[in-house]
Symmetry: C2
Subunit: 237 residues, 2 copies
DNA sequence: ATTACCATCCCCATAAATAGCGAGGGTATA
DNA sequence: TATACCCTCGCTATTTATGGGGATGGTAAT
């Protein structure tokens, strides 16, 4: 069993396309004898990347019904660091229970386990195992396999980022120390007067830094410049 | 050796204070026979949370010299998903090399390995192993231990989040869809007129969303609001 | 059924940011 | 020794953002 997982991880590490990831999710489903295994991104603009064993109908319905905004799994994972057992989430809202019922009519099991994965620049993905089981059996399954599944989830996300060239196109320009400080002050909410005072320079000088940083970052205005500085990681607030 | 790691993880899971984490980092250092083992947050105001075996002098110097802005480890990890071997980072800048030399004079080894860890609301932490070794030996060490160390890093971060009640008081406020759209437009560099046009609303209405978002985010101005929205991950540009 | 929040619109006055013109001395690097 | 940044400072005019005050109708949850 242990060696079998190693094989799966090796296959995963050798994957070179989305189709390969698809195959891996199917192999994982069979290996763990669950109903479904799914990996997908949860971006601001819905779905852009995913591989898994859910039926096309369910995926379509999920998107069509905008379940991303309803699903307690999405919401719960977004606020949590640790993996989540579905049963422990908040299913009190009517919309959530309706979604769960709908899911089961599309072949999903009653139990689920989802690992949140976070990458650079706000990238966020989920790795889910879904099955039909009673609460105790599912908890045992999760206890026994969480660590392995975390490794699998990590490798899946690594590959997905590779395939999508996440962060490749974003080559960050280098700002001077003063420019970085200026951007940081602004990102902290200081206005120009406060920032200038903080850096012990005239407000005019500060302005020069801001302008300079803005041009280097190819930004339309200060807010844009700070946004770019933050999302490329050249400043951290 | 394997069982020893399990013991460490168990100790970690039973930890109930920052001091306990400190003890764990020391035990990890001894177990892996490295020079240093460190876990810390990389947040707005430098250090707010950390445990590790670096000398107080080095930590003070690091903060005093503002090495957070220089350190290629910070920058590299912030842009990457996968763990990082220090040698593979960009040390071409003079400031970076000076920092490295300074570090070695404060008892750090020449090799390092750092795992980036991301939690909800933009939380970002690093787990680092540091040692004196040649390149090959270090690479071997990393290859053999990455998975275990990832688990350790995960458990450390879990505990750190617990201790700091991350998500309790620091829960990112939920913005309405329109507020999120407004923030996103601004983060993309549009001004109010352009954003309003993009969303097909009057400029005044847009302003109401911005104001509302600003209050929810506890921000001083628009730039600050966008910065917070970005760094907590509630919008992605 | 009431409370809360959402989406949408308007006016006015003030504060702040942007755009344009400058200038000088310092430190690298090619 | 040029060339290229980096850091620092000033003035003026225009454009934009912010902070108050409002109002209406809708949806969702308790």
């Amino acid at each position: 069993m242990k060696s079998r997982l190693e094989d799966l991880v090796s296959t995963l590490q050798a994957a070179s396309s989305l189709e390969d990831l698809q195959v891996v999710t199917e192999a994982l489903r069979d290996h763990y004898e669950v109903a479904h295994t799914v990996y997908h991104w949860v971006n601001s603009v819905g779905e852009r990347f995913g591989a898994g064993t859910y039926s096309a109908e369910w995926v379509d319905r999920y998107l069509e019904k905008d379940y991303l905004r309803t699903d307690p799994v999405i919401f719960g994972c977004f606020q949590r660091f640790t993996p989540v057992i579905w049963k422990e989430l908040d299913w009190s809202s009517k919309a959530a229970r309706a979604m769960l019922q709908d899911a089961q009519q599309h072949g999903l099991g009653n139990q689920g386990f989802t690992i949140p994965i976070r990458g650079p620049n706000g990238q966020f993905a989920l790795f889910t195992m879904n099955a039909t089981a009673d609460d105790d059996a599912w908890e045992t399954f999760v206890d026994e396999n969480t660590r392995d599944l975390m490794i699998v989830a990590h490798e899946l996300n690594k590959k997905a980022l590779e395939f999508e060239n996440w962060g490749q196109d974003l080559q960050s320009p280098s700002l001077s120390p003063r420019e970085l400080s200026a951007m940081t002050c602004l990102a902290k909410g200081m206005n120009r007067a406060q920032s200038a005072a903080e850096l012990n320079i005239s407000e005019h000088t500060l302005r020069v830094y801001i302008e300079s940083a803005r041009h280097k970052l190819g930004a339309m205005n200060t807010t844009h410049a700070v946004a770019r500085a933050l999302s490329t990681g050249i400043i951290i607030v």
